[in-house]
Subunit: 192 residues, 2 copies
Amino acid sequence: MKEQVIDKKTAIIEAALKLFTERGFHGTSTAQISKEAGVATGTLFNYFPTKEDLINSLYFKVKGQLSQSMGKEIEAQSPFQDKLRKIWSNLIKWGVDNQEEFLFVGQFCSSPYITKFTREEVMKEYVFLHDLVNQGIKTGVIRDFSAELTIAMFCQASRALVNLILDSDSSQDKNKFIEDGFQIIWKGLAKN
Amino acid sequence: MKEQVIDKKTAIIEAALKLFTERGFHGTSTAQISKEAGVATGTLFNYFPTKEDLINSLYFKVKGQLSQSMGKEIEAQSPFQDKLRKIWSNLIKWGVDNQEEFLFVGQFCSSPYITKFTREEVMKEYVFLHDLVNQGIKTGVIRDFSAELTIAMFCQASRALVNLILDSDSSQDKNKFIEDGFQIIWKGLAKN
DNA sequence: TCTACAATTGACTGATTAGTCAGTTACACT
DNA sequence: AGTGTAACTGACTAATCAGTCAATTGTAGA
């Protein structure tokens, strides 16, 4: 019973992710989502009271997965540069391996359908990056610019790199791109 | 007569820009656009055969304005770094001064409603940035990474900065942000 | 087997959509 | 003034929309 519930809810979320990414929010009808998920329209509205609730749940879930992946395998005692490099490659590998989710976040991060509440809840999961950067500034490893500026440049640069990898043919060396990209952003941020 | 024509077409384009940015493509009806523009629905379809034609025209126009602004006041004989700094500040000032257009481009650059044809036409106007970067690599002023990587990092970083300026309260010093941002990206790209 | 109840269904509704088109207006040229 | 024509209008249509709800299903516990 519980398994069934989770299954249908997951199926709806996955169908919505696929279709929202392909056709946008208003471009995708609840009927299409239900059909893709293999459930009745009524079932969708049983789990998500409105279409907006659905996209907010989806956004929250995907952003959570991203922040989870970002922080993976960071060793507390390793040098600052290695931590940042690991975050960098985590971000990029997440985007490349979860193309739909990556495009979804890009399309909806500044969309009016995502409520302020959802946005704020999501933000809470990114505190650790903020802390890390502030620590890097305080210990003099990276240059003393505003932490917001540093983080924004870092994160957007990682998105640029994912787009590049997704656009380029697969024969190109992904890891070369990732390391080259890190060389650019690290040299830009590092103190010496 | 000719003036009237241009006026109505412009009014439609401007209304569409505002509403598409606020509510998205499918979230904005042609009736809403017509009303905002102060024309009848029929008039809209007189100038743009379909809603998709409208958004493609709009995208082409806005991207054209961006590429125009980007290349402004670049002096041929000035050092490479100054050229790049000027492009950087041009990009950011365009985004800050043309907020609606900036958000529109961000929202629709990877949207399915923009046709491949429009995308390719737009690309043609960005050749000069590609040429400049290649020249910078050849003369050894910037590091020898793929030109696509360099341009992608540069352009996305500029978008990150505009977002930051738009989000921050207006009391903060805009020019400080712009110069700090350039310091990061320039140090990242430059050879020494 | 029977009961109770949550999960699920899909036909349905009133509202809204992109796009049409027959008719009106405004103006240039004679 | 009269004529031709391009711009413009907005009521209209068939299709589609988000969301509802009475009816059905599946199943856990008695």
